[in-house]
């Protein structure tokens, strides 16, 4: 009887392993919010584990009159991450590759638009045994303009 409970205990412990990555990403994303300052994070959690070469896309409507900051942050052990911001026809409006893989981009819009943020983890040029893999988060923040004016 005791053995079965031990088995069940081990099984339950092992079953949480696949979720470790996600839980780690949550803590990572929380720390990464520092890159958004002084912008206020919108509170939406967009983080995942990516390997080198993998891509992810985020679709979001951005509004006129608001100043935004997009921050794409990867774990330190990861290769560089390229992020592109595109319009709904996939015309590239910004690429951080041309800005030394900058982590953030600040922008405003004349009229509200749905934009696509496409991210790709760069591949490592030298062949190594292990594929680089880690958390990548896309954070969106907006400026509290009223406070900025008061300050």
């Amino acid at each position: 009887m005791k053995k079965y409970f031990q088995f069940l205990l081990i099984l339950s412990a092992l079953s949480v392993i696949p979720f470790w990555g996600n839980a780690q990403c949550k803590n990572f994303a929380k720390k990464a919010k520092i890159d958004l300052l002084p912008f206020i994070h919108d509170g939406i959690y967009n983080a995942t584990v990516l390997s080198e070469g993998e891509t992810a896309e985020l679709y979001k409507t951005f509004y006129s009159g608001q100043q935004y900051r997009i921050a794409v942050v990867a774990e330190e052990t990861m290769p560089k991450v390229e992020f592109k911001v595109m319009d709904s026809k996939r015309k590239v409006l910004y690429s951080n590759k041309e800005k030394g893989f900058a982590k953030t981009w600040d922008f405003t819009l004349e009229s509200s638009q749905q934009l696509i943020i496409a991210i790709q983890v760069q591949t490592v040029e030298t062949l190594i045994d292990e594929i680089a893999k880690g958390c990548v988060t896309v954070l969106v923040g907006f400026m509290n303009e009223e406070d900025k004016i008061q300050k």
Partner: protein
């Protein structure tokens, strides 16, 4: 005794299957200590991984919506909020999830207008629903304390509120409860649209507020995409929400928005890029009135 034996034998089979599948699951993710042949496999995985896509669909958060309303000239009116005493009426998962979204939007609206005591009360109501939904530690007592300690600092209050949103949606995503997360976001979106409608009705110079309502046509598309992707495994609650939202979409479809090409121009001094784009919007006042009335009914059904 025999049934006990059968139970343990069955349990043993499941445990063995579980351990074997976990072993395979783990090895497929691990690529350490590989030989020459395996290096080719690694390269193949590397090639395959180039095609892997993950899609995030992000809705405007309640704080973002509240901030837009304030910038559009909105005033604070406590009458518009869902009554606090309603919190005890919600018993099904759908009611609790949608109203957690509703209270989150009300909380954001109140906090942006420095209604600190109201904000604390709405945070407590949100905590109650989050607890009932089993969203562990999304809003704990320390969050309420931090709100109370920062009543005079709006930025800090907004940071605290943003943190609670992130806690709850990350918890739900990490625990594969994405349908629930989508319902909470839907509740928040509807409340944002409801508040906009009430403000349009009670504000004389309401041109900017109407623009904000029209902007929600873009977000509605995002919301429908999100709910439809979550409803691939059919869920009755999501299906009824989708039905109501599609009725709202029919009205939004009467409003025509057309945009030209976006031209980015970066200010070298501030390093802020402006996305210049000319947009034409065609709508009739009746469309806005119909929309406000429809949202009023939908929201009324959510909070009752």
């Amino acid at each position: 005794m025999n049934s006990k034996c059968l139970f343990f034998k069955t349990l043993q089979v499941f445990v063995v299957i579980g351990l074997v599948s976990l072993f395979y699951g783990c090895t497929s993710e691990t690529n350490t200590n590989i030989g020459e042949d395996d290096k080719q496999l690694t390269n193949k995985i590397r090639e395959d991984s180039l095609r892997v896509h993950q899609i995030f669909i992000a809705l405007p958060s309640p704080i973002e919506t509240a901030m837009m309303l304030k910038r559009a000239g909105a005033q604070y009116n406590e009458e518009f909020l869902n009554k606090l005493e309603n919190v005890n009426k919600y018993s099904t998962s759908k009611q609790m999830a949608l109203n957690l979204g509703v209270y989150s939007a009300d909380l954001s609206y109140a906090s942006l207008f420095d209604q600190n005591q109201t904000s604390i009360k709405y945070m407590a109501a949100s905590k109650k629903l989050a607890d009932k939904l089993g969203i562990l530690s999304a809003i704990d007592q320390s969050i309420i304390n931090r709100l109370e300690n920062n009543v005079n600092n709006r930025d800090s209050i907004m940071q605290v509120i943003s943190e609670t949103f992130m806690n709850s949606n990350s918890y739900l995503k990490d625990n594969q409860r994405t349908q629930m997360a989508a319902m909470i976001l839907a509740g928040g979106w509807i409340e944002g649209l409801y508040l906009s409608g009430q403000l349009v009705k009670t504000t004389k110079d309401n041109k900017d507020l109407i623009t904000r309502i029209i902007d929600q046509k873009l977000s509605l598309k995002t919301l429908l995409d999100l709910l439809e992707s979550e409803n691939k495994v059919q869920n009755e609650d999501l299906s009824t929400i989708l039905k109501d939202l599609n009725e709202i979409k029919i009205i939004f479809d009467q409003i025509k928005i057309s945009s030209g090409d976006i031209e980015p121009v970066t200010d070298k001094k501030t390093n802020v890029t402006k996305l210049n784009v000319k947009t034409e919007v065609l709508f009739k006042k009746e469309d806005i009135d119909k929309l406000i009335a429809k949202v009023d009914v939908f929201r009324g059904n959510i909070i009752k």
